[in-house]
Amino acid sequence: MEFDANRPIWLQVMKALEMDVITGKRRPGEKLPGGRDLALSCGINPNTAARVYQELERANLCETRRGMGTFVTEDEAVIAAVREQFIRQTIQDFLRSMAQLGETPESAARMILKEEA
């Protein structure tokens, strides 16, 4: 995995895992690799990998079952909320860029539809 060394690495790995979950690449209830395996497969420090799971748990996106490992949450509502949050973030980023180019949300929307057609 390639990282932007200027941003916290745990955050980048966490975002990548979040993406896997909301796109369905990792299913609800699926077992996630252990902290050490995650560290090895991404080539990151084990403490950083542990942090990834701490933060994912704090966001309720995964849960650790004692002695079993870490699993993607089965609560579809949480996944949907994260997905929604992600979509809104993407749109906001897009609109911010459009605003810099002097476009309003309406004109941007028109352009998107035109692009689609």
């Binding site: 060394a5 941003r7 690495i9 560290a39 991404c42 990151i44 420090n45 084990p46 403490n47 950083t48």
Partner: protein, 232 residues
């Protein structure tokens, strides 16, 4: 786990390590950074007990480094140091003879990972193969602390991922890893703390993720901030 108290080492009129005080804790991978000649190698040799400090001391688990600490600290020097008559197998046997925490099975596994065979003569190894052999034999010890001086030196780009994975696989929460390198980018993701040394003095010891969060600065950026003006 490893504590340096005001450690100083002079060679004649030259001060290689100048009052370095530093505490390294287990469960972390430390990157020791600084330009060539900044004192990294000398500090490691002091911590390995190969050099005797001119002033101050290095302690391992509260005791001054000694014969006892050598049983638990695996040190890999940057220079090749095996006897010239040795084969790869002899090197393993030598470690097995002297280190209780050495596992020959683990050594064989690491040799395979590094694509080395027991029959090879150390005299005939390329610098890259020698670098791999040093890592294999050092990591085949189940030590409490590992100090690797320039582990990526002489190892080509493709093999570095392999080496990183190998080093990481032994970085558990009860171990201490200290890696020195001038290849800063190689260490960015595997280290969680960095020790910056300049002209024999400690500049700072930082938590990397905290630095990225607070200042949006990578280890390499910080390196440039600290040494940029001196290296031009």
């Amino acid at each position: 786990m490893l504590e340096s108290k005001e450690v100083t080492k002079t060679f004649g009129a030259k001060t290689a390590v100048d009052h370095i005080s530093l505490k390294l804790e287990k469960g972390h991978v430390y990157a020791m950074l600084g330009p060539n000649g900044s004192g990294k190698t000398t500090w490691m040799k002091l911590a390995a007990g190969l050099l005797k400090p001119t002033y101050g001391m290095v302690c391992f688990n509260g005791e001054q480094v000694s014969i006892e600490s050598r049983k638990h600290v695996a040190y890999m020097s940057t220079e090749p140091y095996f006897y010239t008559w040795m084969t790869v197998k002899d090197v393993g046997k030598y470690y097995q003879d002297f280190f209780e925490d050495f596992s020959y099975d683990r050594y064989l596994k690491l040799l395979k990972q590094m694509e080395l065979t027991e029959k090879l003569k150390t005299k005939a190894l390329s610098s890259g193969m020698m670098a791999k052999l040093k890592i294999a034999v050092t990591m085949a010890r189940d030590a409490q602390a590992y100090m690797l001086d320039e582990p990526f030196n002489g190892i080509d780009l493709l093999a570095r991922d392999e080496i990183r994975a190998c080093i990481l696989s032994y970085a558990t929460e009860d171990k201490l890893l200290l890696l020195s390198s001038h290849l800063v980018e190689e260490m960015e993701a595997i280290a969680d703390r960095a020790v910056f040394i300049s002209e024999g003095r400690l500049v700072e010891c930082v938590d990397l993720e905290e630095m990225r969060t607070r200042q949006g600065v990578s280890m390499a950026d910080r390196y440039r901030q600290i040494y940029g003006h001196t290296e031009g």
